[in-house]
Assembly symmetry: C2
Homo-oligomer: 164 residues x 2
DNA sequence: GACGTATACTTGAGGACGCAATGATCATAG
DNA sequence: CTATGATCATTGCGTCCTCAAGTATACGTC
C-alpha cells in the first residue's frame, strides 16, 4: 500500500483553507464537462464543441448563413479563430463561403446540405449528452435559476459595436 | 410559451433565433470571464489562470508541496499538462522540484520563497477581479445557491472506470 | 477625386493543452 | 528472484485558439 493516505482534497492545513468557491467550482465544472462532451462529440461525429456551436448558429440563422464576424461574436471567438475554424468546416464540406454582393469586405458562411445533415445527425446525441451530464442534474426550477444566475455574468468585452 | 420537453430550442429562424439555455450561457460566460480574467492576470503578474490555480493549490498544501499527479487532479489538468505548466513555473523560479525519498517515481512541486511572494502579491488583485466580474453579480444567498448548483456537476472522469 | 479612418477578413508566430507512447519505479504473485 | 501489472512522470505530435500585423474594402470629409 502506498505510503500516502493523504486525501485528494486537503481542506484546511494553513489558514483560510483551500478556496472552494462558486468560481472555482465553475472553473472545474467547465473543464470536466467540456472535456467529456468534446471527447464524445469528437468520437461520434468528428466535431469539436466549437464546430458544433458554429453549425448550430448557422442552422438557426436566416438563410442558414451568417457573416463571419457575427458568427465570431455569437460564439465568442476572435475573428481569426473563426477563420481557422471555418477553414476546417469548409474542408469537410459542411460549410461554404459566399461573397456579399453589397459589401466586398464581408464573406458569408453558409451551411451546406451536408452540413445540415451533419448537424441534424449530431444534435440528437449531443443534446442527450448535455442532458445527461448537465441538465439532468437539476430540476426544471433549478435549471431556470441557474440560467438566470448565469445570465448576470458579463459576456463580451470584445470591442463592442452592437449594430450590424 | 410552455417549455418544450425536447429541448433547448425556443427559436424560429427569425433574426438570429438560437438556443439560449443554461448550458449555452455557461459556455459563453466561461469564455468571456476567463478571457478577461486571464488577460488582467497576465498583464499584471505574468501568470495564466492555470498558473495561479496551481500556485494557490501549493500555497494551501501541507508543507507547500504536492505530488505532481495530485496537483494535476486537483486543478483538472492531465499529467502532461502539469509537467509543462510546472516547467514554466520552475523556469520562473516560482516552484521547485523535489524528489520523494520513499518513492522514486514521484516528484514534488514545492513553492519557493519567490513563489510565495508571487502568489501573495497576485492574490489580491486577482480575487478583486473575480469579485468584480463574478462574485459581485450575486447576493450572498445567490452565491451559495450557485455554488450548490455547480457542485452537482460531474468532476473527474480521470482515468479508469471506478464502478462502485 | 484624394485622404483618413473604420470594418472585414486572413496570416504568421506562438502558447496551452490533450493523447498516445515511453521510461522508470513500485508492488505482488509465483 | 523474476515476471506481471500498476503508477508517476516526461516527451513527441497535433489541435485549437489568441495576438499582432497585413490586406482589401467602405465611407465620410474636404
Amino acid at each position: 500500500m502506498s505510503s500516502q493516505l493523504l486525501s485528494t482534497q486537503a481542506s484546511s492545513p494553513g489558514s483560510g483553507g483551500l478556496p472552494d468557491t462558486a468560481w472555482v467550482r465553475f472553473l472545474r465544472a467547465h473543464a470536466a464537462l467540456t472535456r467529456e462532451l468534446s471527447s464524445r462529440l469528437e468520437a461520434l461525429h468528428e466535431l469539436t464543441l466549437s464546430d458544433f456551436d458554429v453549425l448550430v448558429q448557422l442552422y438557426y440563422a436566416e438563410g442558414r448563413r451568417m457573416r463571419r464576424i457575427d458568427l465570431a461574436r455569437s460564439v465568442l471567438l476572435t475573428a481569426s479563430g473563426i477563420t481557422r475554424l471555418l477553414d476546417g468546416l469548409e474542408r469537410s464540406g459542411l460549410v461554404a463561403r459566399e461573397r456579399c454582393a453589397s459589401d466586398a469586405r464581408v464573406t458569408y458562411a453558409v451551411l451546406t446540405e451536408s452540413g445540415m445533415r451533419k448537424i441534424e445527425d449530431a444534435r440528437e446525441s449531443h443534446l442527450a449528452d448535455i442532458e445527461e451530464l448537465f441538465g439532468s442534474r437539476f430540476s426544471p426550477e433549478e435549471r431556470d435559476q441557474l440560467a438566470d444566475l448565469l445570465a448576470r455574468l458579463p459576456l463580451a468585452h470584445t470591442s463592442e459595436a452592437c449594430s450590424q
